[in-house]
Symmetry: D4
Subunit: 169 residues, 8 copies
């Protein structure tokens, strides 16, 4: 698990503000990853190279984020059998509906596992990558269970604070 297990790909460095939702989760789960800026449209050759070599370099899951007519995840999925997770990014005027449909509506044969639009989706992509890897790496499963428990506590805390605030009105 020392080599990167997860490849995070985005079409532009400006997408990193969103995609760091994924890197933060993978840091938290202590899963190594690599970050690559490559575009389905602007750098197709690099994107092909990336897709074809990922598996051999030890990558087991790829997370791809893109906005507009978001072809990146689908294009990568067409050249590897690794599971691809797509994150639609809300960067056009259409509120991410274009990126969502371009990512999720893959024709039968080449799936892309699509997350919700934006930074929450990028975070979920990191969690979903961990869920896939947890089938093989028991330590990641333990961290996922712990993560869920922390989530429950966090909601409980919020509930207590809100009720305290309401009581003290």
């Amino acid at each position: 698990m020392d080599n990167p297990l997860v490849g995070i790909v985005m079409g532009s460095d400006s997408d990193f503000e969103i995609m760091k939702g994924a890197t933060e989760i993978l840091d938290e789960f202590k899963i190594n990853y690599e970050v690559t800026v490559t575009s389905a449209h602007r750098t197709p050759v690099k994107t092909h190279e990336y897709s074809k070599t990922a598996s051999n370099r030890g990558i087991e899951v790829i997370i791809a984020g893109a906005g507009w007519a978001a072809h990146l995840a689908g294009v990568i999925a067409s050249e590897t059998t690794l599971p691809i997770i797509g994150v639609p990014i809300d960067s056009s005027s259409l509120n991410g509906l274009d990126a969502l449909l371009s990512t999720v509506q893959m024709p039968s044969g080449i799936p892309v596992a699509t997350m919700s639009i934006g930074k929450g989706g990028a975070k979920n992509a990191g969690i979903f990558a961990a869920q896939i890897l947890s089938l093989k790496y028991p330590k990641i499963k333990e961290r996922l269970v712990k993560y869920r428990e922390d989530m429950v506590k966090a909601v409980e805390d919020k509930n207590s604070k809100l009720n305290l605030k309401l009581k003290n009105r």
Copy 2:
């Protein structure tokens, strides 16, 4: 790999017409699976039971298909750390847009890997389950590679036939 590795869940038996897109692919990939009709809303207790026991029963991936306000995949995802694949089903008047948004727009913390709407999405869910499992089971990886090669040949055949037809006009 003799026990079911994939759980396929749907809210109604009428959804099977769509969801058999997944069973057919898993049959083709020789991956064992179980099929369960349970609804997030009509049989919540059974759905909770299903979600909590799946991992212990040996299930590694769950595919959940539902239409309308499709909560099934999200509700299952909330009670297991197994990867959940959601298939939006086009059964209301809104062409599946309701099922798509209800499945894909999961808030951060609990991801659902969403496929395209309908039978093509169910088929892709089967393929994506195989892609996840292929990280652990090399035979599945071989079958995925073979599947891709067959797909290329099938497109080539279609191309030849169409051009023959055009030539003979």
Copy 3:
């Protein structure tokens, strides 16, 4: 009527900014209520507990607000026969369309009474809860009638002020 008659539930404390539209109305109608932060996805066990015990604790109506793939109201509705009022919250990039469809498009068998998106919808949820309760509690009916009369006066006032302003241009 001393115990809470209305349960107000939301997935995150950040939703309270919207949901206080409901608490303010219930305060105005002198209807006791309780406020709970619990998520369909992050705290499913607590949400089940909440739903199953609400009726026994004397709750007669539940108002549930959530954004994104808003499953909260539907999940609660699946475990109680109390009337559930859903408030779609506009917290994703899709302007609340995702929350609206996830809340309103409930499959047949388990209804959720859906209000408009956002704070106006939360306010209406409070009023609708009062309308339900007014069938049983005549005092609430009186307050509803009074509320309507005040509403008429408020519109009349606005009309007079606008016309005065226009006259004095």
Copy 4:
């Protein structure tokens, strides 16, 4: 409970094909109801009369179904404090999105409890009316509990049949 407790209103007799989803449920729950064809736009005077007199005639809940720019539920809601349940009907080319938004997006002050689009929504309207009435009439509560139990059994049956069919392939 001998007099009608529920008023079912629709803009056109052609809507009855959808709205009988509600009458069938009310028959099943042994709740008396009346059925009225009246349009917000074509027969406004009758609609006002209906709305203003409903409460005095003993009606406790009103279900209103309409398509297109569906104003019927909102217009009735403006003239009574009874709880109004709206059913958007899919009768224009826009798949019921127009009726849904016209029904659910009520401005703050006058709520309409909106159900899903079409016959399933009409059925849910009947169930939701029963849920409201069950707060006051214990027999209806018993029937609702029984209805839920039957629903669970029906899903179980479907599950068994589907699995039997799959086993016998």
Copy 5:
């Protein structure tokens, strides 16, 4: 033409910011008008009164602006045979799509002449009212022709200025 010929109606005084698009045009065309705040939902009685008496008071065209589930124009149209012009207002989270569909998708029998969303639509409502009145009042026709000519000159000016700016880069 001394009495108001046009009635401008809006559901809330906060809509005046949009609806003054209409008053400014009518001022420019020297057409008398009255402004009324009345809501289809909050003040139904006043709205009925308004609709039924408008024609007798000499009003020949009514402009109604509303947001959300915008029923105002349709409700007025149901109680008078005067031509009603509807202006959808963008005041909910759905960008005015709800108001547009609630205004334009009138069922057959009771038309509402719908303008574009927002202030431009309010301005166009004023112009369209003038176009209707111009059939009867020749002076208004003259002013409309003049208005068109000024519009042509304004575009010409903008073209010249932009090209001058580009030349001087």
Copy 6:
């Protein structure tokens, strides 16, 4: 009133199936009209000629129906000050949403009075033309009032028949 007062224009003769909703109403109201097939895109010269000469030929209102990117009503409106009524036609795969937005979202300066999508909208266009003309021609006003009364009776009849049918179940 012997010459045509209303011009009905459509982009293709296949649109007549929809647009006869307007001719039938005008026949009923005994208003003379002319019907012209001309396209904003395929026959621009004829469309300009039509628009510029309509007023001089005695036309007082123009009804224009078109599907897809429906420019016809807007293009005619740009070359005459007569009131233009637009009917969006549902002839593409997008259910008429394209035609609706292309017709209604006119920029400020050149209004098009938009009706609902399809044949109901065409019928309403005929009624709205009658409402405009009724300001000038008292006989048309009388017929409009009669038309409304008949509409009320028709709804009453439908109500009686439906209730009779329900009673005799």
Copy 7:
């Protein structure tokens, strides 16, 4: 002009029913073309080969039609500087909105000239290819002018026939 000047590409032979809208026009304009079935996702290698070699083989314009998350036109555009015309195909449940947004919303740098959805769009793609080529090949320009004139006559004919039919009622 003996070699193919236009390449028509589609993801599946089932798309030919739509794409023959383009071949028929090119036949009419006597422009040579080649037809190729290749998919951005199922046969990425072939698609790359196609894109990179098209210009050298004498192709001057490429027309690409695809449904669902339609990446084909964008992927080809990324590997050639030839003008690419995209035709969104309505083959999913979303009425072609997914294909439209996936084709048209190309990020800046790599344009795709998008046509309307479906067979009309395919036909327009053929015409637009002819318009591009007409800048270089005067004979094609002549045929375009002739095609427009025929279109005008066809509309005139339809107008005459419809009016004849109306007169003879």
Copy 8:
């Protein structure tokens, strides 16, 4: 190539902020162009003149940008056989969806090559114009190839910088 080869047209000078995406690219590619403010609706005569004379003045490609019910590109396309590129502008409350559908959904016979919404679309319009012209002017082809190479380098640079930043955290 000294005379303008490209005509850039927009409905209002306020659209220039978007449309300069096109002028900047054409400057970069050293392609002469002219800029004209003219509106399909406000200055129809000027727009007809422009369209009919463009070809004779040496213009080979026209780029037209407009918002709302964007008829400009379609109207120009109806009066010339030059290739027309449409840029939908996001200037109404509907996020440019209205302008997109009004531009792209042209009925068969008169195509408009539609770009993505907004400034990126305007930039792509400039590139697409260059791609069309490159078929005839080899120098433009060279510049396009160079532009692509620079684009690849720019993405590479962004990738290096982002990875450097990540390493130095």
